[in-house]
């Protein structure tokens, strides 16, 4: 993966481009990720995908947890990873454990061993080792590290724990990682400015290729978002890409200046 900033606005917003090994054309940023179910965009079969604007629509986000019910990691690996499984050879894939529909973080069941998600196969605890096994078989271009995402209403103590765990799991993910994909370090911290910043500072110290800003879309108010994002982006190195998810409607995306991939 290659990323470069091309121009800055007067504020923090910036344009750039993202070059992924599998996607022949560079993708201009800010860019939108297409959400998928089991790797394919909802209702758009692969032969119709080229009718969407190119290369803007060539970045697909998927949840490895959609494949808990199969095919097995071994089978996906045999087929050659997600790109081959899906027959989308000129598309880039970004893995994020959660989505907003079928793989929802369940913070009460998350523990020090792993993150819990409500999935189509019921509630599942995913430890870093299992997550990395999925990532290794699916071979995405970009993958976010496993995060402990919590809603805005949890106690300060629980929110602090989520930051500690997320940073610890990032270390474990990096240590276990054997794929060529770009690691995006997960940044959480709920709606606590200090925790957000603490998490960002810790993640920046690690060897990552970009940043994934999580913990949004869990009950925080719209008004809080700009300052929370500011607190995080202030800490992040300028030359690295930033990805965010869970913002919801397109209008809301405009609030997130300084973030590349939404």
């Amino acid at each position: 993966m290659k990323f470069a900033v091309k121009a800055w606005s007067n504020g923090k917003a910036r344009t750039g481009f993202l070059q992924l090994g599998n996607c022949p054309a560079a993708i201009d940023t800010p860019a939108l990720l297409l959400s998928t179910r089991k790797g394919l965009p909802h209702f758009i079969s692969p032969d119709l995908l080229p009718s969407l604007p190119s290369p803007d629509s060539h970045l697909l986000q998927f949840s490895p947890l959609h494949f808990l019910e199969g095919p097995s990691s071994k089978t996906i690996s045999n087929i050659g990873g997600l790109q081959h499984l899906l027959g989308l050879h000129e598309y880039g894939f970004a893995a994020v454990a959660r989505d907003s529909v079928q793989s929802l973080p369940e913070c009460d069941a998350t523990n020090k061993f792993g993150a819990s998600f409500e999935t189509t196969c019921g509630r599942r605890l995913i430890r870093p080792v299992e997550y990395i096994e999925m990532i290794s078989s699916m071979k995405p271009d970009i993958w976010a590290s496993l995060a402990d995402e919590v809603p805005s209403w949890v106690s300060d103590k629980r929110n602090k724990t989520s930051v500690d765990r997320t940073v610890k799991w990032l270390d474990e993910c990096i240590a276990l990682n054997s794929t060529g994909g770009a690691v995006f370090g997960a940044i959480v911290g709920g709606n606590d400015l200090e925790e957000r910043q603490r998490c960002a500072v810790e993640v920046v110290k690690r060897n990552v290729s970009g940043y994934w800003i999580g913990g949004f879309g869990f009950g925080e108010s719209m008004d809080e978002r700009p300052s929370l994002l500011d607190a995080v982006t202030d800490v992040l190195p300028e030359e690295m890409p930033r990805m965010i998810c869970g913002l919801g409607l397109p209008g809301i995306v405009f609030q997130s200046f300084g973030v590349e991939v939404v």
Binding site: K38, L40, L48, E69, I79, L85
Partner: protein, 413 residues
Amino acid sequence: MALRFEILGRFNRARAAQLTLPHFTCQTPLFMPVGTQGTIKGLTTQQLEEIGCQIILGNTYHLALRPTSELIDELGGLHKFMNWPRAMLTDSGGFQMVSLLHLADITEKGVTFQSPVDGKPMLLTPEESIQIQNRIGADIIMALDDVVKTTITGPRIEEAMYRTLRWIDRCIAAHKRPHEQNLFGIVQGGLDPVLRDICVRGLVDRNLPGYAIGGLAGGEDKDSFWRVVAQCTASLPEDKPRYVMGVGYPLDIVVCSALGADMYDCVYPTRTARFGTALIPEGVLKLKHQAMADDTRPIDPTCDCMVCRNYSRAYIHCLVTKDAMGSQLLSFHNLYYMMKLSRDLHSSIVRGQFPEFVRKFLLRMFPHGDVPQWVCNAMEVAGIDISSCCAPMSSPLTSEICEVGFTKLSEIE
């Protein structure tokens, strides 16, 4: 009459033709997918064009209820409404009423049924069916017939056949767009050769643009089925298209084509896709089967469709019946299979290789030589020698299924 039917090649009774309709020039034999509400579930019209679909069937009953034929008319006809540039066919609406509504009552005036909208009794007359179809504007429209269950016997069959003949005159008289739309008559008469004969003669006297063989594919035994088709195709005029209604299993289409039929429609390929079943040359492949979970092969390694070029059985297995994309991809493959079958029938007849095609088809579907007896009987009448496909009667092992997940088509009917 708004069509031209030119026969390009024959083998005994089988024929390959070019059917020129107002919106498209079609090659027969052909299969028409059913687009109940003006759309084939899960496929865009662009995809349907790409896989070679020539005619789509629209259901008058559903379209008349929603969005209503008046609105379709106002919006420029069904072709424009669903953005389909090629040919269309609408049914009369009668069959849907009788099969979907238990309270339908057929009298000389027409079909009385309870409106699914407000529960009030409504009457569909032959005149009204044609008026609705005139407004919808398909290339081919169907006469309202008196539909009876194939398996019913007795005087009701005879009554329905004679009523169908009386109604065809009312349909012809009501038809306001004979130069843009082709009205097909429907041969009824159950499984009774005498009644079928009277009906065929009666309809042929009316010199219609095309003829349909109705009242089949309703649970009758296969020998009765092909005999009715064979009888009707033998006495229908050579220079008009023949449409066997509701027929859609690949094997049935091959047999009917050998007997001289040209057009088919069925919901089977798309319906079975929604239940996770793929059509393949060997029969069917059940993608829900656990054996598919780690199978990295395509659905059909010999298929060139978008799905088979890109996807493993394992991936389709994880989608079927859970995600809409599963039935979307399987419907695509199944319709591609039907279109390819239509093209192969057409080209093998044109090239004079029809018997070879039939034998190859049967050998792949019945590799152990256990071709059903009714197929053997029909092929004898069609003058196609399939003895090389049939194993000697004494072999007891032939009917076993050799591979997990495969089922012979003849066993799921």
